[in-house]
Amino acid sequence: MVIAEAKANSFVVIDRIHSGRNLKMRLYNMGLTPGVRVKVISSEPGNAIVISVRGSRLVLGKGISEKIEVRNLGKI
């Protein structure tokens, strides 16, 4: 699934980023690399999401959050 679909207060791991080189590198530079764990702090449909990654908080607009493929972390 993409991170736009993740629920608020859940943890995910980034699998892949589906975008052109520019955006991909910008995201990598801000810490969003494959394998990194991300906490989704808030997520409202159709809006930007707020995440926590490597200790800092980022806002991801819709266009970006739909390009980041993630998987949920195994939880009960």
């Binding site: 764990r37 702090i41 809006n47 200790g55 980022l58």
Partner: protein, 668 residues
């Protein structure tokens, strides 16, 4: 099927093994003793779907060494009974120690399924475990459970059954013990391979035990084999100990990779504040309230009170004192006029507004330094998208209320060129602090009871025009998909007095310098142009300035202020917007910039409506030189700089025209 799946349940003491055993077997289990020892043996059989499962509870152990009865019994069971699956219960809140046993169990060669217990405690502690990664690295299915609740019972038993069925193809992971020991393993294997009594053991496991000089294994081999290997390496370290160390190194790396320290992601105070500040419903209203508060604070509360004080100082105290002193000193009249009316009038007329400006910058500094500005980008993102820009483009707009020069420079954070160009070109519509003196002056003079409302309406008009123009630009000249928002939210900080002080002082200093140089010079020039013409000293209405003003004035008649003084002021406003007021102070000869009498003088040339239309024109028309040069610098293009001048002049004229003419219909 009659065939039973034999499952051995193994784990540390206090890992919840008993609870799990009871949950799986229900009341149907029997308790006995392991043969020959006083260790309790529990066994239970149950059906799961189509399968019959026989679950043997092994004693709680920390490792499988041959030192205690419990360990020996466990080892024996696994080697002799060869269970289809070893169900290893692991306490997730004590992962490292528990995994030590897990590794040992895996090395024995029977398939292992891990029940990761105490997940509820782990959650509470704020720790997360990447179960999938753990599974992969151990090559063993890991099922998270909370033994007391057993929500995942089905999942656990499915894993057991599935693993049991595939047990023939199972190859356990191998911990890397380092070159030295790995070589020894190969060596040892060659040495003992032929011994039939050792045939049923997993080879690698066996070799490791021989290297360790495991008592039980050594006994099996017979005393004669002890001479085979040296228990110590070349540094005098015992292999037995090295093997333990290597196991723990492996476990450390494993745990690092799969355990998530959520403390980095734990909710901070900033997060708590953001829950409200960036709330879907509350966010925008809160922001609007804050902005209104900023304006109220700047204009009403602080600004105007200080303004009156400064005004009185300049227009009465200083002006009169200078006049008296200079007259007393016998200074010639024209010089007195230059100093009192020109300089004190022009510069003082502007310094009067310093308190307002300082307060505005103070408020903006707080918004920036506290970290709130980043939230503003998020809050406004949705709205900005409707005009084709991202929330980030909103920040330069807010900064523009202070001064358009740094605001336009801040558009550098916009990655998309089209968005950037748009943001730059609409920024001058965000009414900067330099225009404030004009509004304050006219609003006080013509709308004394609705001062704030009037000023506010102008700011609002500026925003409305900016937004509309942006909308048009993004669909025409600067068409592009808006860049999706990607912005960091720094933690909220309480702005330091020092930080704010520095920001405000910088701006105030700039303003005073501007006043002391540009405006000072301009005031002198304007004074001269107003008091002289080709024939020498002249009355205002016959001066150079008047000629220029009268020449331009007709352009403004349809806007309601076709008089030469107003036109002249607008012209001087190109240098710096503050000069509009300075100019008027001098041109109306209104006793050293006193707000009050200037207001009276203005009434002669303006009506309320034309005053408003004048303010609208000032709001929208050409930006000052400072802004023009920054536009050129940031866009890198004379074409667009020229365009910004032309389109602003046109827009200003048209809108002011509309205001005056349409307003005229209502006012009559």
């Amino acid at each position: 099927m009659d065939k039973k799946i034999k499952v051995a349940l193994a784990g540390n003491p206090n890992s919840g093994k008993t609870t799990l055993f009871n949950e799986l077997t229900g009341a149907r289990h029997y308790v006995g003793n392991w043969p020959g020892v006083t260790v309790e043996k529990k066994e239970g059989g149950f059906k799961y779907g189509e399968e019959n499962i026989l679950l043997t509870d092994l004693p709680g152990i920390y490792s499988i060494s041959p030192y205690t009865m419990e360990e020996i019994v466990t080892r024996k069971f696994i080697i002799e009974e060869k269970p289809d699956v070893i169900l290893n219960i692991v306490d997730a809140s004590n992962l490292e120690r528990n995994l030590y046993l897990t590794i040992q169990l895996i090395e024995m060669g029977r398939p292992v399924v891990i029940a990761l217990n105490m997940m509820d405690i782990v959650e509470k502690k704020g720790i997360g475990i990447d179960v999938e990664a753990l599974s992969k690295k151990l090559k063993a299915t890991v099922v998270p459970i909370t033994a007391s609740k057993m929500g995942n019972k089905g999942k656990l038993l499915d894993a057991v059954v599935e693993t049991a069925k595939k047990s023939d193809g199972y190859y356990p992971i191998e911990v890397d013990y380092g070159q030295d020991i790995e070589n020894k393993i190969v060596e040892t294997h060659k040495l003992i391979d032929h011994l039939a009594c050792l045939g049923r053991f997993n080879h690698r496991w066996l070799s490791l035990r021989v290297i360790e000089e495991d008592i039980e294994i050594m006994n099996l081999m017979g005393s004669g084999q002890k001479a085979y290997l040296d228990p110590e390496n070349s540094h005098g370290e015992r292999y037995e100990e090295l093997i333990v160390k290597k196991k723990y190194e492996f476990i450390n790396r494993l745990v690092d990779a799969v355990v998530i320290d959520k403390s980095r992601d734990k909710e901070t105070v900033s997060d708590k504040i953001d829950k409200i500040a960036m709330n879907r419903y509350l966010g925008l209203p809160i922001f609007i309230l804050i902005m209104m508060g900023v304006f109220a604070f700047t204009f009403d509360v602080v600004g105007n009170r200080l303004l009156d004080l400064v005004d009185v100082f300049f227009s009465e105290i200083l002006a009169n004192a200078a006049f008296d002193w200079l007259t007393g000193a016998g200074v010639s009249e024209w010089l007195i006029s230059l100093v009192v009316e020109g300089i004190i009038g022009g510069v003082g007329g502007i310094l009067v507004f310093l308190p307002n400006i300082a307060t505005l910058f103070f408020a903006i500094s707080i918004l920036e330094d506290s970290g709130y500005m980043a939230r503003v980008a998020f809050i406004m993102d949705r709205t900005m998208r409707r005009i084709g820009l991202s929330g980030k483009a909103f920040i330069p707009m807010v900064l523009g209320f202070g001064c358009n020069v740094p605001a336009i420079m801040s558009t550098r954070t916009l990655e998309n060129k089209q968005d950037r160009m748009t943001a730059i070109l609409i920024n001058p519509f965000m009414s900067c602090s330099a225009r404030l003196p004009v509004y304050t002056l006219f609003a006080s003079a013509f709308f004394p009871r609705n001062k704030s409302m009037v000023v506010f309406s102008l700011y609002f008009l500026g925003i409305a025009v900016a937004v509309t123009v942006a909308f048009v630009f993004k669909r025409t000249f600067f068409k592009s998909e808006p860049i999706p928002l990607l912005i960091e939210l720094p933690p909220y900080r309480i702005p330091t007095a020092k930080g704010i002080g520095i920001h405000v002082w910088e701006r105030v200093k700039e303003f005073i310098v501007k006043a002391g140089t540009l405006i000072f010079a301009a005031s002198i020039v304007i004074w001269f142009l107003l008091n002289y013409n080709f024939a020498g000293p002249a009355a205002f209405t016959d001066s150079f300035a008047a000629s220029v003003g009268k020449f331009i004035a007709p352009m403004f008649t349809p806007l309601g202020f076709g008089n030469w003084r107003a036109s002249l002021s607008l012209l001087t406003g190109v240098v710096a917007k503050e000069i509009i007021v300075s100019n008027m102070s001098i041109a109306y000869g209104a006793g050293a910039g006193s707000g009050a009498s200037l207001a009276d003088a203005l009434s002669a040339s303006f009506t309320s409506l034309s005053a408003y239309s004048f303010m609208v024109y000032v709001l929208l028309y050409i930006p000052c030189i400072g802004v023009i040069s920054v536009i050129k610098k940031e866009t890198g293009s004379w074409k667009w700089t020229g365009f910004s001048i032309v389109y602003q002049m046109t827009l200003a004229w048209v809108i002011a025209f509309g205001v005056y003419q349409i307003g005229g219909l209502f006012v009559g």
